[in-house]
Amino acid sequence: MSFHPRATVGAVLFGAAVLAACGGSDGESGDGGDLGDPGDCTVVDMAVSSEKIALLTQLADDFNASDEARIDSGCVFVRPYSKASGSAAQLIVDGWPDPEVNGEQPVIWSPAASGWAAIVNERLGRVAAPPGTPFMLTPLVIAMPQPMAAALGWPDTPIGFADIVELANNPEGWASVGHPEWGPFRLGKTNPNYSTSGLNFTIAEYYAATGKSAGLTVEDLQRPEVVQFATDVESAVVHYGDITMTFLNNWFATDVRGTSLTYASAVAVEEKSVIDYNLGNPDGELAIGEVPRTPRVPLVAIYPSEGTLYSDNPFVILDTEWVSDDERAGAKLFELYVQRPENQEKVLAFGFRPNNPTVPLADPVSAANGVDPNQPTAELEVPAPEVLVRVLDAWAEQRKEARVLLVLDVSGSMGELASSGDTKLDLAKEAAISALDDFKPADEVGLWTFTTDMFGTADPNYSELVPVAPIGDDEGQLEGAIEDQFPLNGTPLYEVASAAYAAMLEGYDPEKINAIVFLTDGVNDDGNINDDDDQFTDLINQLQAGSEGATSRPVRVFTISYGDDADTVTLKAIAQATSAAHYDASNPATISQVFTAVISNF
């Protein structure tokens, strides 16, 4: 007996369309590993949220080799790749352009939560993303270092969003509960336009503001006290970003140095991430040779007393013009395959809760890993689609403002051709100008460019083209300044990173996210290699000293490795020293996508 979905699958010949390796931000987008040549099989491309790419790659590999993928007229070949839920939602609305950069047009879309499908349908005005069968579950929790949770009464005292918000708004911060050494309450929260955890926390934030647990309305979002409440919560945010792994990796890195309690006090993540962190694998994926390390300070999952929202990981088989009946039928086969008990057992190993009730909840979803299998006991209702869309709009107005310095490399190597006659600098300029639209008018943005011998042989090797100032006042000046750039000389990376950091620290504004976006395509090249090691050490020490401790004034340096020759090791170290994030744009064609991901931090 062959097991078939709604219709017989015919053999559709697809060439070996190579999955675009999207580069993107670390974890934002990429393939799921080499699954081999699909041959003449019907190819079912699948865009999945980043936290489950390892699991789905394994399941797809097993499926492709199984009899379940054999059909009367050939075979089905499932090919998952990672795509942040919010990014995929926007791409579907846009008709999924440019597959070389964005990944092949998916047949199956598995965002982290069904709410994204509702947003897509609402924005399109039609059902392109029909309800999908949940694949596995994980609730939104508030991850806190165990000592901090204990200071709030965990595990005996229920803790809710309201308690978190109250502490976040208390000017005394942790001193109000007897721990001045932990400084202010710092909240980690991803950008709700890209991340499910960010979206769900934002929904919960508005529910907490209204005292409701269901029936959130557009009118609720407009009430002055709700706007003020949300603005106050957002003011405690460290920075945003497109993926929660940035926070978890930074927490883990600071844990090594014993400073994790002053990086972030609480981060909105999925329960599965707490398990991964405590098992010594903060981003949920072990690189080759990476050995799990138990953190010094474990995290615990707080299940908000008001209720929470679930990531239900639906399999959405898209109803779009690029999906054929054969592909849809092939997708249905894979959907049935992953629901089988033996495959649902595999989701446990990745820290998720199975959706199949015949598979009991078991380790690692256990107290030993900081989570409670008997929680949550209450849920918040997912708002209606039109309210979800309005939540995103409201957040864009109420999010914490940013103060950002863009530092662009205009060294000679930026003049190398990237693609279709464009130089790397051409593409970077275009991407940077486009990304300016993602700031809100009150955000302060400035621009430096750097290369050696900018002003003859005299220092400095950088030029302040636009001082940091509200972008709403004159976005055109920034655009013009970026547009005017052309490639020049060497790459004084260390010197300029240090100078930019010092300048931003001098003008530090505690009410804003203070950050630098540092793009370079090369290695430090200031004409003197003898002092490079000292320069690098001094720079990292300078960045760490300013970024850690209860009274620190964090200026986050988000770095972008641009092209194949960028010094990625150094740029990662710079980002880590400031508990920011490094982004990989080794494929210059992805620079626009990467800029979008970087700006999602603000």
Binding site: M1, S2, F3, G132, R340, N355, P357, P376
Partner: protein, 317 residues
């Protein structure tokens, strides 16, 4: 020599008789019993029963199994497709075909397994529910409680509101649950869709847990993996898995209702030998009871009731 000839004649006679018997077994009897039939090639499996179909699929390589929502199958099942579903959906298809196409589609229906229709809840909530609505849950009472704070009826404040839920109407179990509920609301009286009490009662169910929340799963399936979403799941008691059972109570409903699994084979189609038995075996190993087993009460809903109540529910919610 004569002896040899007689032995040879005897051997030939035995061979002829054996050949005749073989021919009768292989061809003649089969032709008599299956005259005008074709072998089934497709088994349509109700989505809630996909796991059962999956378990028997390897033993029937000649069959293609297609998993489909009952709601879709009602409109799309082909004349030569077998159907593993619930009573009375084959009857509904037969009646619909007769009415719309003036062509009969008769099924030979084999009972496979049964279960009580039940209200499944966490044990602590089940006790409070029983105290308010009876150990056999009264439908009118359950609907009246939908959306009420548990704390006002003897439950814990942390449980929030009472959230009963049916499976989606696209599913067979969803339609059977709704049929039982609406019938239970009206009792012996005829269904009156304009009755304001009924309208409010029905809408309280939907407001408590919007049907869209359960997309892709049944209510009983959902409560076992995500008990924070709903408090009372209406469905087959057999859906409760052994590993989850200790945490939950499955209360029968009042009046009692039965859910029957059936293998429906269209007239003119021959089912593979032993298929119904194989399905019965895996169903029983999954918690379903044998047809007629003690412990299963009530009767399955009839076709007219299911059609009418599904339509009413769809209009109201």
């Amino acid at each position: 020599m004569i002896v040899v000839k007689r032995l040879a004649a005897l051997g030939a006679a035995v061979a002829l008789i054996a050949g005749a018997l073989y021919a009768r077994d292989q061809w003649i009897e089969e032709d008599e019993s299956t005259a005008g039939t074709t072998s089934a090639t497709v088994l349509v499996c109700a989505a809630e029963l996909a796991a059962l179909c999956s378990q028997v699929s390897a033993d029937y390589p000649e069959l293609t199994v297609r998993v489909d929502d009952v709601g879709s199958s009602l409109n799309s099942i082909a004349d030569d497709e077998m159907w593993f579903t619930f009573t009375p959906f084959p009857d509904i298809v037969s009646q619909t075909r007769e009415r719309t196409r003036q062509t009969a589609l008769e099924y030979a229906v084999s009972p496979v397994a049964s279960s009580n229709l039940a209200a499944v809840s966490l044990t602590d909530r089940g006790a409070v529910l029983a105290a308010n609505c009876g150990s056999a849950v009264e439908w009118r009472c359950l609907g009246d409680l939908a959306g009420t704070d548990w704390s006002t009826i003897g439950g814990d404040a942390s449980w929030g509101r009472v959230r009963p839920a049916f499976s989606p109407l696209s599913s067979g179990i969803g339609r059977l649950g709704v049929a039982s509920a609406v019938s239970g609301f009206f009792g012996d009286a005829p269904i009156d869709v304009n009755n304001p009490d009924f309208i409010g009662w029905a809408r309280r169910f939907d407001r408590a847990v919007p049907a869209s929340s359960l997309a892709g799963s049944t209510a009983v399936g959902t409560i076992q993996v995500r008990s924070s979403l709903l408090d009372v799941a209406i469905g087959a008691a057999a859906e409760l898995t052994p590993s989850a059972a200790p945490r939950f109570t499955a209360s029968v409903v009042d009046p009692p209702a039965r859910i029957d699994l059936v293998l429906a084979v269209p007239a003119g189609v021959r089912a593979p030998s032993g298929l119904a038995d194989a399905l019965a075996q895996v169903a029983e190993s999954s918690g379903w009871l044998a047809p007629g087993a003690p412990g299963v009460a009530g009767a399955p809903a009839d076709a007219n009731t299911v059609v009418a109540t599904s339509q009413v529910w769809e209009d109201l919610t």
